[in-house]
């Protein structure tokens, strides 16, 4: 797709003949053929790239002032907030950036679920995406430990203790993770190291994600393949560069709203209390983006069972391309799946709410039902729908559903209307 690029400058040509880097960038960013009917749900790929880069840049700068030591970490974060020039801004961007990163990634994943973007031939894109999501979870969790407040400390304690559920080797593994007999400096230092490393691994996976995407090309709201060499596609630049840029701008306004007006609304005030190994906060909750998984963990009365179920809740996503037996991609043409889709989204939101509540009484019962449904959606609903669902007829091409009914009629009557622009 990129071999037709001719650098205009002599230096560019000299460079490109020896290393076709410009070729590569050009081919993937400018003429890359993109379905012409992508809606705004497709802009989140660009938004997520922005989020990752923002986290890397602000994180790099914060690391210049942060000290990863149990005695100094909390103070160094306060030092960033009070003393460092614009430290408050950089930290609030980083902390809220993590939240918005997850908001965007959940929308991105929900988009894929709705339009069947994970299906053949895009399974690998989806699986790489699941790994990116896993790394994001690990990175966000370790990052939350670094300020060494009460929530940091007890979050780290609870999550690292999950490993003690592993039969036989559990205690040995937790001791190894801690580098001691409790959560303390050694753990903080290694979390900091890994928290610094992982975004670069995510970045590498993002490159693979985009590379894999550019082999079959984008899915689209109709969920049908583009007709090669037709008017189904437009060049990525300027059409989607501008559309993505506009969506990114709106996203940045929301981002700025959080950073400047309610920077702590998504956090927990207990994390402004220095870590105290002798006292657990009354009600410990993870960051909002982990709540659905936290609810799944707590819905199981067995320690090991809870851990296994929570890990499975994410792992099962990787098998989705094969659990979904339907040949039709887009939920637009799957009337039953569309309803189950929204039921599933509601279930995840419900789990998120339950994760924020004290796990007892009615909350526990509803939590168990919601957890059961989460897995049923993947194990029972998705495989069966492919066999029982009567899907709507698919359009012949992307251009077809874009036409209005009147134009459709004219076309059928053999008038001069083409798929192009129609003057009335």
């Amino acid at each position: 797709m990129s071999s037709d690029y001719k650098p205009s400058s002599a230096v560019g040509k000299w460079f490109n003949d020896r290393l076709p880097l410009l070729d590569l960038i050009y081919g993937h960013m400018l003429p890359y053929p993109t379905p012409k009917n992508l809606n705004y749900w497709w802009t989140f790929g660009g938004i997520l790239t922005f989020c990752l880069l923002t986290q890397i840049v602000t994180g790099l700068v914060l690391a210049m002032h942060y000290v990863a030591d149990a005695d100094l970490a909390f103070q160094s974060v306060e030092h960033i907030m009070r003393d460092v020039n614009y430290g408050w801004l950089l930290r609030y961007i980083h902390a809220n950036g993590a939240s918005l990163f997850f908001m965007a990634v959940y929308i991105h994943m929900a988009r894929s679920l709705f339009y069947g973007s994970y299906k053949e031939p895009r399974e690998l894109i989806w699986i790489i995406g699941v790994f990116i999501f896993l790394l994001m979870i690990a990175t966000a969790f370790m990052g939350y430990v670094l300020p060494w407040g009460q929530m940091s400390f007890w979050g780290a304690t609870v999550i690292t203790n999950l490993f003690s559920a592993i039969p036989f080797f559990g205690d040995a593994i937790t001791t190894w993770l801690w580098g001691g007999y409790s959560v303390d400096s050694p753990l903080l230092t290694r979390f900091f190291t890994l928290h610094y490393l992982m975004p670069f691994l995510i970045f590498a996976l993002v490159v693979l994600h985009v590379w894999a995407l550019h082999v079959p090309g984008n899915n689209n709201p109709e969920g049908i393949d583009v007709v090669k060499g037709s008017q189904d596609t437009v060049p990525f630049h300027p059409h989607y560069v501008i559309k993505d840029a506009f969506a990114l701008m709106v996203f940045m306004i929301i981002f700025a709203g959080f950073v400047f007006f309610v920077p702590n609304i998504l956090g927990h005030s207990d994390n402004y209390i220095p870590a105290n190994p002798l006292q657990t906060p009354e009600h410990i909750v993870p960051e909002w983006y982990f709540l659905p998984f936290y609810a799944i963990l707590r819905s199981v009365p067995d320690k090991l069972g809870g851990v296994i179920l929570m890990v499975s809740a994410i792992a099962i996503l990787a098998f989705l391309p094969w659990l979904d037996t339907s040949k039709v991609r887009s939920a637009k043409y799957r009337p039953l799946y569309k309803q189950f889709y929204w039921l599933f989204i509601a279930d995840v939101i419900l789990l998120g709410y339950l994760g924020s509540q004290v796990s007892s009484g009615i909350y526990l019962i509803v939590g168990r039902i919601a957890t059961a449904y989460y897995f049923m959606h993947f194990i029972i609903v998705m495989p069966l729908l492919g066999f029982f669902e009567k899907t709507k007829p698919l359009p012949k091409s992307i251009s077809e559903p874009v036409l209005t009914k009147e134009e459709q009629k004219q076309k059928e009557n053999g008038s001069a209307v083409t798929g192009d622009f129609v003057y009335k």
Binding site: V61, M64, H65, H79, D83, V84, N85, Y86, G87, L90
Partner: protein, 169 residues
């Protein structure tokens, strides 16, 4: 040459470009200035020194902004020696009176102006300071006399709060 008409598009291009440039600058600035001295560093930017324990002919070195500051109570001979030097003999001409507020007290940053080493006191060919790194000789007023250093030892900003106390910075 046809007259170029200013179109709406020209206007939009220029305003978009101008706003983008201003926005990019505003975003870049916090990332740049975060590396400048922060409030906690600035809070330590001045130091008060009690001069009473220092007898004539004795020097002390104190730490100010992470750098050594030499405070020397000069002897009569050192003052005379510093004052009688012909200004034309100096690579970096500066009269001794310009370098002190009170001739008895010489206060200067103890960092060689060549490449940042700390000169040794009362050494060298001019009875002042001598830098062991690359052999710069300073006189009893801390002025460069011989060697690679380009300028005299720097005089920090300081005031006498009273006869016995100075505040540096």
């Amino acid at each position: 040459m046809g007259e170029k008409k200013v179109t709406r598009r020209n206007f939009l291009y220029i305003t978009t470009g101008a706003f983008s440039a201003a926005g990019a600058g505003a975003v870049a600035w916090p990332f740049i200035t975060q590396m400048n001295p922060d409030a906690s560093v600035k809070a330590l930017a001045s130091t008060e020194v009690d001069l009473r324990p220092i007898v004539p002919g004795q020097s002390i070195t104190i730490l100010w902004r992470g750098k050594p500051v030499f405070i020397r109570r000069r002897t009569k001979e050192e003052i005379t020696e510093a004052q009688k030097v012909a200004i034309t003999d100096l690579p970096d001409p500066e009269d001794d009176t310009e370098r002190v507020q009170n001739p008895e007290w010489l206060v200067m940053v103890g960092v060689c102006t060549h490449l940042g080493c700390i000169p040794l006191g009362q050494k060298g060919d001019y009875n002042g300071w001598y830098c062991p790194c690359h052999g710069s000789h300073y006189d009893t007023s801390g002025r460069i006399r011989k060697g690679p250093a380009p300028t005299n030892l720097e005089i920090p900003e300081y005031v006498f709060l009273n006869d016995n106390t100075i505040k540096i910075g």
